[in-house]
Subunit: 123 residues, 2 copies
């Protein structure tokens, strides 16, 4: 009998596979979306995504999501969904581990012209 059943994904094991920051690594795909894990530290850049909502789930550490009207601090065990079109800039002085869920075609730097753009890599 062929194995139809999927394997589980250990987030801890996946995080052990990379140290790069600001490069979401793909661990699963579903319904045209990628489940990514990422390490963030420092400041990213102002950007938005015209057609994609993004969910950030903080697994470890504390992330400040800066919006044009205010900062929202997102700690361990908390999530934030950034709707399409809303400008945002992630900031975190200490390293944060997150799960990021977004449509497959989402560009990490959104509408910004930046050399921080990366293509998603599966791990």
């Amino acid at each position: 009998m062929s194995q139809l059943s999927p394997d589980k994904i250990s987030l801890k094991e996946k995080f052990a596979l990379f140290n790069e920051q600001w490069e979401g690594k793909v661990v699963a795909e579903m319904n045209g979306m990628y489940i990514k894990l990422a390490r963030l530290q420092g400041e990213f850049l102002w950007h938005s995504h015209a057609h994609e909502d993004e969910m950030f789930h903080v697994l470890e550490g504390e992330l400040t999501m800066r919006f044009r009207d205010r900062d929202v601090t997102v700690g361990q065990g908390e999530c934030i969904v950034v709707p399409r079109g809303v400008e945002h800039m992630p900031i975190c002085p200490e390293e944060v581990k997150i799960m990021l869920i977004e449509p497959k075609g989402t560009v990490n730097t959104g509408d910004a012209d930046s050399d921080r753009r990366v293509e998603p890599e599966w791990i």
Copy 2:
């Protein structure tokens, strides 16, 4: 200035709002998908979803996902994506807290004819 920025979501605070088991509560929406929280305990029923992939992220406890070919045990900090069309039955002797991500129209009992079907409720 109107507030464009979204609020964060505390999973702990949301779990404090309900005790029902096997009824995923919606805490966010993105890209046509619902982010749900659920408490599971006992056995669900065999079912599959013809057109939807489902992601289970175990936040607390241990979930066994039974497939036709094997059981996969998913513990805290682990995830499993059940692809569309794959029959599965969640089992957990002790209560498990999960985050469930699936398309908005997903029926919890899938293709099964069951009185355990529930409509998703926002909390």
